[in-house]
Amino acid sequence: MAAAAALHVPAGTLGHFDYQASPATREANWLRWTLLTLSLAFFAFFLLLPLVAVFVEALRKGWGTYLTALTDPDALSAIRLTLLAAAISVPLNLVFGIAAAWAIAKFEFRGKQFLITLIDLPFSVSPVIAGLVWVLIFGAQGWVGPWAAEHDLKVIFAVPGIVLATIFVTFPFVARELIPLMEAQGREEEEAAIVLGATGWQAFWRVTLPNVKWGLLYGVILCNARAMGEFGAVSVVSGHIRGLTNTLPLHVEILYNEYNFAAAFAVASILALLALVTLAIKTFIEYQHARAMAASTE
């Protein structure tokens, strides 16, 4: 608003210091346009073009092929499994993330730095390693693998393994989003709530959580996007059983490798759509947040 208002200063009030034309404060036109064109071209090439390509390729052989590819039982099962993995891992990471962020931001304890580093671990290790650790733990020759096999518990190469891998790679999103927010807010509001007679639970739901809800939603959305899109870690623990343990990204790869390009892109377009929906929700949240902020400070 401030910038817009400044532009409406009546001519003459600035005297002979014509800000707009001052060579010291303003880039040359050509530079501005070059920068603008460059960044737009960059954006179009790296983001827009692939997105368009996905949909163009998906529909290359017409709607019939597109719908057939999507209603294929294997594709449907992949969609279901992807949504299931996200539906389990996102709420769990929501709870873990809030708990971890809360502990880190509001309390002092031994090993706090270690915990912060630990939370970042999934960001720093390769997704393949993230998958292999579960094979190492639950594999036939792994630590608890033989025990699990005895009790007929299937973890890797089954849905639980996929969920575990997804939880692992998406763990940091919620916590990372919340820690700086909660740290910035300090403990005073919660103390105030407690002094006013609130239980810890009430203070959490009525004070802590509403204060971070935008950040929380944002973290959840990022978490969800990654949960649905994860390839590397899930690929390692999936076992690739068609109709049972193939998620959407794995299914796309398989179709592509089978020269079934139209179907591969059709399924990819579902992933792209899910991503776009996620982005739309994110934008909506940011818009709502901005409005809420504006309303409270106007």
Binding site: E189, A192, A193, I194, V195, L196, A198, Q202
Partner: protein, 277 residues
């Protein structure tokens, strides 16, 4: 409600915040904990509230040991230096908070909450701001809302941590006189922490001077000014030529009668004596 603390000790690592502090706060008084920053006054206040646990010693509320009483059951009102208003709630909801979180059986009806909150907002003279959010208020307004919020739960004790610390000089003066009047109206046992001598001497019934985690002197404002017990107190309350003054005797002439008034009480001090009148 009376408050008593006995042999309180508290340290943070190697730093000793409170070193064997014992004090009594009689019912209905407005007491100032005065001292330089780091003297332990805020820590003492937080220990009384239950927000901090003492390493040793006891806190007695109305004669009962409150060591095992949870903060929310101590029925204290606490006003934070930076207000700690709930930023996502309107002014009304901030004040109503303490009523809404009460256990279902003790919770007042919605109508009762409405009535009570508006009453409190009227008391702090900010009823017209009920629908605003904290971010839209001035510092002085926020502090008064914080006070109204603390009073909503009908606390037995009011604890204020540097209540005017974050305000500019003019607002501070107005607000502390307002606080004094409010106290005279409510007569609730109140303790406020400050590092500002003028503020303490002007507002409090009694002043507790603290330094390095110990009590230097306790007394009425007049006592500590006129009979400082230690060199520290003498130095700390030395206000040069603009120190506090007390009305000791007055003659008031009215329609030929002369009223001779003598003030035996030592408080409150007057902030300013207008000689021209």
């Amino acid at each position: 409600m009376s408050i008593e603390v006995k042999n309180i000790r508290k340290s943070f690592g190697n730093f000793v915040a409170l070193d064997d502090v014992s004090l009594e706060f009689p019912s209905g008084e407005l007491v100032a904990l005065l001292g330089p920053s780091g003297c332990g006054k805020t820590t003492l206040l937080r220990i009384i509230a239950g927000l901090e646990a003492a390493d040793s010693g006891t806190v007695l509320l109305e004669g009962d040991d409150a060591s095992d009483t949870h903060v929310r059951e101590r029925q204290v009102g606490f006003v934070f230096q930076h207000y700690a208003l709930f930023r996502h709630m309107s002014v009304f909801e901030n004040v109503a908070f303490g009523l809404r979180v009460k256990p279902r059986r003790q919770r007042p009806s919605e109508a009762e909450i409405q009535r009570k909150v508006h009453e409190l907002l009227t008391l702090v003279q900010l009823d017209f701001l009920a629908d605003r959010y904290p971010a839209q208020l001035s510092g002085g307004q926020r502090q008064r809302i914080a006070l109204a919020r603390a009073l909503a739960v009908e606390p037995r004790v009011l604890l204020l941590d540097e209540p005017f610390g974050a305000l500019d000089a003019k607002v501070r003066k107005e607000l502390r006189q307002w606080l004094r009047r409010l106290h005279d109206e409510l007569h609730i046992t109140s303790i406020f922490v400050t590092h500002d001598q003028e503020e303490a001497l002007e507002v409090a019934d009694r002043v507790v001077l603290m330094n390095h985690g110990r009590i230097e002197q306790t007394g009425t404002p007049r006592e500590v000014v006129e009979q400082p017990g230690t060199a520290f107190v003498a130095d700390f309350v030395n206000l040069d030529d603009h120190g506090p003054a007390w009305l000791v005797e007055a003659k008031i002439r009215h329609r030929g009668y002369v009223l001779h008034a003598v003030n035996d009480a030592d408080s409150p001090a007057l902030s300013r004596i207008d000689l021209a009148a």
